[in-house]
Symmetry: C2
Subunit: 166 residues, 2 copies
DNA sequence: TATTTCCTTCAATAAAAAATGAAGGAAATG
DNA sequence: CATTTCCTTCATTTTTTATTGAAGGAAATA
Protein backbone atom coordinates (compact mmCIF):
# COMPACT_ATOMS: atom_id res chain seq x y z
CA UNK A 1 0.00 0.00 0.00
CA UNK A 2 1.85 3.08 -1.22
CA UNK A 3 -0.05 5.55 0.94
CA UNK A 4 1.26 3.86 4.06
CA UNK A 5 4.83 4.58 3.11
CA UNK A 6 3.92 8.09 2.05
CA UNK A 7 2.64 8.85 5.53
CA UNK A 8 5.70 7.53 7.28
CA UNK A 9 8.30 9.05 5.00
CA UNK A 10 7.19 12.31 3.42
CA UNK A 11 10.61 12.95 1.87
CA UNK A 12 10.28 10.08 -0.59
CA UNK A 13 8.88 11.09 -3.96
CA UNK A 14 5.95 9.37 -5.58
CA UNK A 15 8.33 7.76 -8.03
CA UNK A 16 10.52 6.42 -5.27
CA UNK A 17 7.50 5.05 -3.45
CA UNK A 18 6.29 3.20 -6.53
CA UNK A 19 9.72 1.71 -7.16
CA UNK A 20 10.17 0.69 -3.54
CA UNK A 21 6.76 -0.94 -3.48
CA UNK A 22 7.51 -2.80 -6.67
CA UNK A 23 10.73 -4.20 -5.29
CA UNK A 24 9.25 -5.07 -1.91
CA UNK A 25 6.76 -7.23 -3.78
CA UNK A 26 9.47 -8.76 -5.94
CA UNK A 27 11.77 -9.51 -2.99
CA UNK A 28 8.93 -11.16 -1.12
CA UNK A 29 8.44 -13.45 -4.09
CA UNK A 30 12.02 -14.62 -3.78
CA UNK A 31 11.80 -14.81 0.02
CA UNK A 32 13.81 -11.77 0.98
CA UNK A 33 12.83 -9.32 3.73
CA UNK A 34 10.95 -6.14 3.09
CA UNK A 35 13.91 -3.96 4.03
CA UNK A 36 15.97 -5.49 1.23
CA UNK A 37 13.27 -4.52 -1.25
CA UNK A 38 13.12 -1.03 0.18
CA UNK A 39 16.85 -0.50 -0.12
CA UNK A 40 17.09 -1.91 -3.62
CA UNK A 41 14.05 0.06 -4.76
CA UNK A 42 15.47 3.29 -3.44
CA UNK A 43 18.85 2.71 -5.05
CA UNK A 44 17.25 1.67 -8.32
CA UNK A 45 15.54 5.02 -8.82
CA UNK A 46 18.26 7.14 -7.27
CA UNK A 47 20.87 8.33 -9.71
CA UNK A 48 23.50 9.41 -7.21
CA UNK A 49 25.24 6.82 -5.03
CA UNK A 50 23.90 6.78 -1.48
CA UNK A 51 25.73 6.05 1.74
CA UNK A 52 24.17 3.95 4.46
CA UNK A 53 23.15 6.99 6.52
CA UNK A 54 21.19 8.40 3.62
CA UNK A 55 19.46 5.09 3.06
CA UNK A 56 18.70 4.75 6.76
CA UNK A 57 17.27 8.26 6.95
CA UNK A 58 15.21 8.14 3.79
CA UNK A 59 13.67 4.76 4.50
CA UNK A 60 13.44 5.35 8.27
CA UNK A 61 14.88 1.97 9.06
CA UNK A 62 17.68 1.23 11.51
CA UNK A 63 21.36 1.37 10.65
CA UNK A 64 21.54 -2.33 11.40
CA UNK A 65 18.83 -3.16 8.92
CA UNK A 66 20.56 -1.08 6.28
CA UNK A 67 23.84 -2.83 6.91
CA UNK A 68 22.21 -6.27 6.77
CA UNK A 69 20.20 -5.42 3.69
CA UNK A 70 23.21 -4.08 1.82
CA UNK A 71 25.13 -7.19 2.75
CA UNK A 72 22.44 -9.38 1.22
CA UNK A 73 22.16 -7.22 -1.87
CA UNK A 74 25.92 -7.24 -2.37
CA UNK A 75 25.97 -11.00 -2.03
CA UNK A 76 23.53 -11.14 -4.93
CA UNK A 77 25.55 -8.56 -6.88
CA UNK A 78 22.40 -6.44 -6.99
CA UNK A 79 24.21 -3.50 -5.44
CA UNK A 80 27.81 -2.38 -5.44
CA UNK A 81 29.91 0.17 -3.61
CA UNK A 82 31.39 3.02 -5.61
CA UNK A 83 34.25 5.26 -4.60
CA UNK A 84 33.40 8.87 -3.87
CA UNK A 85 36.44 11.16 -3.81
CA UNK A 86 36.85 12.99 -0.54
CA UNK A 87 34.37 10.84 1.36
CA UNK A 88 35.45 7.78 3.24
CA UNK A 89 31.98 6.42 3.59
CA UNK A 90 30.83 3.62 1.32
CA UNK A 91 28.39 4.71 -1.32
CA UNK A 92 26.10 2.32 -3.08
CA UNK A 93 24.45 2.06 -6.44
CA UNK A 94 22.03 -0.53 -7.76
CA UNK A 95 23.05 -2.78 -10.59
CA UNK A 96 20.34 -1.97 -13.09
CA UNK A 97 20.86 -5.24 -14.89
CA UNK A 98 18.46 -7.51 -13.07
CA UNK A 99 19.83 -10.57 -14.82
CA UNK A 100 22.85 -10.36 -12.51
CA UNK A 101 20.49 -10.62 -9.60
CA UNK A 102 18.50 -13.42 -11.18
CA UNK A 103 21.64 -15.42 -11.93
CA UNK A 104 22.89 -15.01 -8.37
CA UNK A 105 19.51 -16.10 -7.07
CA UNK A 106 19.42 -19.19 -9.26
CA UNK A 107 22.96 -20.14 -8.26
CA UNK A 108 22.58 -19.44 -4.56
CA UNK A 109 19.04 -20.63 -3.93
CA UNK A 110 17.83 -23.00 -6.62
CA UNK A 111 21.03 -24.79 -7.59
CA UNK A 112 22.02 -25.99 -4.08
CA UNK A 113 18.50 -27.26 -3.54
CA UNK A 114 18.56 -29.22 -6.75
CA UNK A 115 21.94 -30.68 -5.80
CA UNK A 116 20.73 -31.78 -2.40
CA UNK A 117 17.56 -33.16 -3.97
CA UNK A 118 19.71 -35.23 -6.31
CA UNK A 119 21.67 -36.63 -3.35
CA UNK A 120 18.46 -37.37 -1.53
CA UNK A 121 17.06 -39.21 -4.51
CA UNK A 122 20.17 -41.32 -4.57
CA UNK A 123 19.59 -42.28 -0.95
CA UNK A 124 15.98 -43.06 -1.79
CA UNK A 125 17.03 -45.43 -4.53
CA UNK A 126 19.22 -47.32 -2.07
CA UNK A 127 16.31 -47.58 0.37
CA UNK A 128 14.04 -48.88 -2.38
CA UNK A 129 16.55 -51.56 -3.26
CA UNK A 130 16.19 -52.92 0.27
CA UNK A 131 12.39 -53.08 0.03
CA UNK A 132 10.30 -56.21 -0.56
CA UNK A 133 10.15 -56.63 -4.30
CA UNK A 134 6.36 -56.38 -4.29
CA UNK A 135 6.45 -52.72 -3.24
CA UNK A 136 9.67 -52.04 -5.07
CA UNK A 137 8.27 -51.36 -8.52
CA UNK A 138 5.73 -48.75 -7.43
CA UNK A 139 8.18 -46.93 -5.20
CA UNK A 140 10.77 -46.98 -7.93
CA UNK A 141 8.35 -45.48 -10.41
CA UNK A 142 7.64 -42.52 -8.16
CA UNK A 143 11.24 -41.84 -7.36
CA UNK A 144 12.07 -41.98 -11.05
CA UNK A 145 9.44 -39.31 -11.56
CA UNK A 146 11.09 -37.16 -8.98
CA UNK A 147 14.48 -37.72 -10.53
CA UNK A 148 13.10 -36.68 -13.87
CA UNK A 149 11.89 -33.36 -12.48
CA UNK A 150 15.10 -32.63 -10.68
CA UNK A 151 17.02 -33.31 -13.89
CA UNK A 152 14.68 -31.04 -15.75
CA UNK A 153 15.22 -28.31 -13.17
CA UNK A 154 18.95 -28.63 -13.58
CA UNK A 155 18.66 -28.41 -17.34
CA UNK A 156 16.39 -25.41 -17.39
CA UNK A 157 18.62 -23.31 -15.14
CA UNK A 158 21.35 -22.33 -17.61
CA UNK A 159 18.65 -21.88 -20.17
CA UNK A 160 16.82 -19.28 -18.11
CA UNK A 161 20.11 -17.52 -17.50
CA UNK A 162 20.84 -17.40 -21.21
CA UNK A 163 17.40 -15.98 -21.88
CA UNK A 164 17.80 -13.30 -19.23
CA UNK A 165 21.28 -12.24 -20.24
CA UNK A 166 20.63 -12.00 -23.96
CA UNK B 1 3.32 -57.86 16.96
CA UNK B 2 -0.44 -57.87 16.32
CA UNK B 3 -1.35 -55.97 13.20
CA UNK B 4 -4.26 -54.08 14.80
CA UNK B 5 -1.87 -52.32 17.13
CA UNK B 6 0.68 -51.62 14.43
CA UNK B 7 -1.78 -49.30 12.72
CA UNK B 8 -2.33 -47.24 15.85
CA UNK B 9 1.32 -46.30 16.04
CA UNK B 10 2.00 -44.56 12.76
CA UNK B 11 5.61 -44.21 11.77
CA UNK B 12 7.18 -42.91 8.64
CA UNK B 13 9.60 -45.05 6.67
CA UNK B 14 13.04 -43.84 5.67
CA UNK B 15 11.80 -43.38 2.13
CA UNK B 16 8.88 -41.29 3.27
CA UNK B 17 11.11 -39.15 5.43
CA UNK B 18 13.46 -38.45 2.53
CA UNK B 19 10.59 -37.51 0.23
CA UNK B 20 8.95 -35.31 2.83
CA UNK B 21 12.23 -33.55 3.54
CA UNK B 22 12.78 -32.98 -0.14
CA UNK B 23 9.38 -31.39 -0.60
CA UNK B 24 9.62 -29.30 2.57
CA UNK B 25 12.75 -27.76 1.09
CA UNK B 26 11.08 -27.26 -2.28
CA UNK B 27 7.94 -25.71 -0.81
CA UNK B 28 10.00 -23.32 1.28
CA UNK B 29 11.70 -22.17 -1.91
CA UNK B 30 8.34 -21.20 -3.34
CA UNK B 31 7.19 -19.69 -0.04
CA UNK B 32 4.75 -22.34 1.13
CA UNK B 33 4.55 -23.61 4.73
CA UNK B 34 6.34 -26.69 5.93
CA UNK B 35 3.10 -28.59 6.45
CA UNK B 36 2.27 -28.27 2.76
CA UNK B 37 5.59 -29.85 1.89
CA UNK B 38 5.01 -32.61 4.42
CA UNK B 39 1.61 -33.48 3.02
CA UNK B 40 2.69 -33.39 -0.59
CA UNK B 41 5.82 -35.41 0.18
CA UNK B 42 3.81 -38.08 1.97
CA UNK B 43 1.26 -38.33 -0.82
CA UNK B 44 3.98 -38.39 -3.45
CA UNK B 45 5.55 -41.57 -2.12
CA UNK B 46 2.31 -43.22 -1.00
CA UNK B 47 0.65 -45.35 -3.60
CA UNK B 48 -2.74 -45.66 -1.97
CA UNK B 49 -4.97 -42.61 -1.59
CA UNK B 50 -4.95 -41.23 1.95
CA UNK B 51 -7.75 -39.56 3.87
CA UNK B 52 -7.11 -36.55 6.04
CA UNK B 53 -7.05 -38.59 9.24
CA UNK B 54 -4.30 -40.79 7.89
CA UNK B 55 -2.29 -37.76 6.84
CA UNK B 56 -2.85 -36.11 10.21
CA UNK B 57 -1.78 -39.23 12.11
CA UNK B 58 1.24 -40.08 10.02
CA UNK B 59 2.66 -36.57 9.98
CA UNK B 60 1.56 -35.80 13.53
CA UNK B 61 0.11 -32.48 12.57
CA UNK B 62 -3.31 -31.10 13.46
CA UNK B 63 -6.48 -31.77 11.49
CA UNK B 64 -6.70 -28.06 10.79
CA UNK B 65 -3.23 -27.95 9.28
CA UNK B 66 -4.06 -30.94 7.11
CA UNK B 67 -7.23 -29.32 5.89
CA UNK B 68 -5.48 -26.05 5.12
CA UNK B 69 -2.56 -27.78 3.46
CA UNK B 70 -4.79 -29.88 1.25
CA UNK B 71 -6.72 -26.78 0.30
CA UNK B 72 -3.53 -25.07 -0.85
CA UNK B 73 -2.32 -28.16 -2.68
CA UNK B 74 -5.66 -28.57 -4.43
CA UNK B 75 -5.59 -24.91 -5.47
CA UNK B 76 -2.27 -25.63 -7.18
CA UNK B 77 -3.60 -28.87 -8.68
CA UNK B 78 -0.78 -30.67 -6.92
CA UNK B 79 -3.21 -33.01 -5.20
CA UNK B 80 -6.65 -34.32 -6.05
CA UNK B 81 -9.40 -36.22 -4.30
CA UNK B 82 -10.26 -39.67 -5.54
CA UNK B 83 -13.43 -41.64 -4.88
CA UNK B 84 -13.10 -44.69 -2.68
CA UNK B 85 -16.10 -47.03 -2.87
CA UNK B 86 -17.73 -47.63 0.49
CA UNK B 87 -15.96 -44.79 2.23
CA UNK B 88 -17.46 -41.38 2.44
CA UNK B 89 -14.24 -39.70 3.46
CA UNK B 90 -12.22 -37.80 0.88
CA UNK B 91 -9.07 -39.57 -0.19
CA UNK B 92 -6.18 -37.78 -1.76
CA UNK B 93 -3.44 -38.58 -4.22
CA UNK B 94 -0.55 -36.46 -5.43
CA UNK B 95 -0.35 -35.40 -9.03
CA UNK B 96 3.02 -36.83 -9.94
CA UNK B 97 3.39 -34.44 -12.82
CA UNK B 98 5.15 -31.54 -11.18
CA UNK B 99 4.68 -29.37 -14.24
CA UNK B 100 1.04 -28.95 -13.23
CA UNK B 101 2.23 -27.54 -9.96
CA UNK B 102 4.84 -25.34 -11.60
CA UNK B 103 2.31 -23.94 -14.04
CA UNK B 104 -0.15 -23.16 -11.27
CA UNK B 105 2.59 -21.48 -9.31
CA UNK B 106 3.68 -19.35 -12.24
CA UNK B 107 0.10 -18.33 -12.96
CA UNK B 108 -0.92 -17.69 -9.37
CA UNK B 109 2.22 -16.13 -7.96
CA UNK B 110 4.46 -14.77 -10.67
CA UNK B 111 1.96 -13.62 -13.27
CA UNK B 112 -0.13 -11.35 -10.99
CA UNK B 113 3.03 -9.74 -9.68
CA UNK B 114 4.26 -9.01 -13.17
CA UNK B 115 0.87 -7.56 -14.07
CA UNK B 116 0.83 -5.27 -11.07
CA UNK B 117 4.43 -4.31 -11.76
CA UNK B 118 3.39 -3.32 -15.27
CA UNK B 119 0.60 -1.13 -13.88
CA UNK B 120 2.99 0.42 -11.43
CA UNK B 121 5.47 1.20 -14.17
CA UNK B 122 2.73 2.93 -16.07
CA UNK B 123 2.05 5.13 -13.05
CA UNK B 124 5.77 5.82 -12.79
CA UNK B 125 5.90 7.00 -16.38
CA UNK B 126 3.12 9.46 -15.67
CA UNK B 127 4.98 10.75 -12.62
CA UNK B 128 8.14 11.18 -14.68
CA UNK B 129 6.28 13.21 -17.27
CA UNK B 130 5.44 15.72 -14.56
CA UNK B 131 9.06 16.05 -13.47
CA UNK B 132 11.40 18.92 -14.34
CA UNK B 133 12.92 18.03 -17.69
CA UNK B 134 16.41 18.11 -16.23
CA UNK B 135 15.75 15.05 -14.08
CA UNK B 136 13.38 13.52 -16.57
CA UNK B 137 15.89 11.77 -18.81
CA UNK B 138 17.69 9.90 -16.05
CA UNK B 139 14.49 8.79 -14.36
CA UNK B 140 13.06 7.71 -17.66
CA UNK B 141 16.10 5.59 -18.40
CA UNK B 142 15.76 3.69 -15.17
CA UNK B 143 12.08 3.07 -15.52
CA UNK B 144 12.64 1.85 -19.05
CA UNK B 145 15.11 -0.64 -17.63
CA UNK B 146 12.50 -1.86 -15.21
CA UNK B 147 9.94 -2.11 -17.97
CA UNK B 148 12.36 -4.14 -20.01
CA UNK B 149 12.77 -6.68 -17.23
CA UNK B 150 9.08 -6.97 -16.54
CA UNK B 151 8.51 -7.57 -20.26
CA UNK B 152 11.21 -10.18 -20.24
CA UNK B 153 9.62 -11.88 -17.26
CA UNK B 154 6.32 -11.98 -19.04
CA UNK B 155 7.91 -13.45 -22.13
CA UNK B 156 9.86 -16.13 -20.33
CA UNK B 157 6.83 -17.48 -18.45
CA UNK B 158 5.11 -19.43 -21.24
CA UNK B 159 8.51 -20.54 -22.39
CA UNK B 160 9.31 -22.12 -19.02
CA UNK B 161 5.91 -23.78 -19.07
CA UNK B 162 6.55 -25.23 -22.49
CA UNK B 163 9.89 -26.59 -21.36
CA UNK B 164 8.39 -28.18 -18.26
CA UNK B 165 5.44 -29.76 -20.01
CA UNK B 166 7.36 -31.25 -22.93
C1' DT C 1 47.89 8.05 20.83
C1' DA C 2 43.29 9.54 21.61
C1' DT C 3 39.21 10.56 19.27
C1' DT C 4 35.91 10.38 15.87
C1' DT C 5 33.51 8.17 12.23
C1' DC C 6 31.71 4.36 9.94
C1' DC C 7 30.20 -0.01 9.78
C1' DT C 8 28.97 -4.51 11.47
C1' DT C 9 27.35 -7.85 14.73
C1' DC C 10 24.25 -9.75 17.84
C1' DA C 11 21.12 -10.11 21.81
C1' DA C 12 16.65 -8.46 22.64
C1' DT C 13 12.22 -7.12 20.84
C1' DA C 14 8.68 -6.76 17.50
C1' DA C 15 6.25 -8.46 13.68
C1' DA C 16 4.68 -11.95 10.69
C1' DA C 17 3.46 -16.54 9.61
C1' DA C 18 2.03 -21.12 10.69
C1' DA C 19 -0.07 -24.63 13.68
C1' DT C 20 -3.31 -25.88 17.01
C1' DG C 21 -7.65 -27.16 18.73
C1' DA C 22 -12.25 -26.13 19.66
C1' DA C 23 -16.55 -24.81 17.54
C1' DG C 24 -19.77 -25.35 14.05
C1' DG C 25 -21.81 -26.65 9.45
C1' DA C 26 -23.09 -30.10 6.17
C1' DA C 27 -23.91 -34.47 4.79
C1' DA C 28 -24.46 -39.35 5.85
C1' DT C 29 -26.26 -42.67 8.95
C1' DG C 30 -29.29 -44.95 12.27
C1' DC D 1 -35.07 -36.28 12.97
C1' DA D 2 -31.51 -37.12 16.20
C1' DT D 3 -26.81 -38.68 15.98
C1' DT D 4 -22.52 -39.44 14.12
C1' DT D 5 -18.86 -38.46 11.03
C1' DC D 6 -16.13 -35.59 8.32
C1' DC D 7 -14.40 -31.44 7.18
C1' DT D 8 -13.52 -26.56 7.52
C1' DT D 9 -12.92 -22.21 9.78
C1' DC D 10 -10.91 -19.14 12.85
C1' DA D 11 -9.39 -17.24 17.41
C1' DT D 12 -5.52 -18.34 20.04
C1' DT D 13 -0.94 -20.00 20.72
C1' DT D 14 3.44 -21.20 19.05
C1' DT D 15 7.15 -20.73 16.03
C1' DT D 16 9.79 -18.35 12.87
C1' DT D 17 11.68 -14.35 10.86
C1' DA D 18 12.89 -9.49 10.67
C1' DT D 19 14.15 -5.26 12.96
C1' DT D 20 16.08 -2.58 16.37
C1' DG D 21 19.52 -0.51 19.06
C1' DA D 22 23.48 -0.89 21.81
C1' DA D 23 28.17 -2.51 21.88
C1' DG D 24 32.42 -2.98 19.76
C1' DG D 25 36.02 -3.24 16.02
C1' DA D 26 38.60 -1.11 12.40
C1' DA D 27 40.18 2.50 10.02
C1' DA D 28 40.64 7.47 9.39
C1' DT D 29 41.57 11.74 11.58
C1' DA D 30 43.37 15.03 14.91
Amino acid sequence: MPSEIAEIEPSLSGLEIEAIDLFISFMKLVGLPKSVGEIYGLLFVTETPLNSDQITDQLRISAGATSQGLKILRSFRAVRAVYMPGDRRDHFVADLDLSTFATAFLNDELKPRLESAAERIHRMEILIDAMPSQKKAAAFKRVERLKHWVDRGRKIMPWIQKFLVS
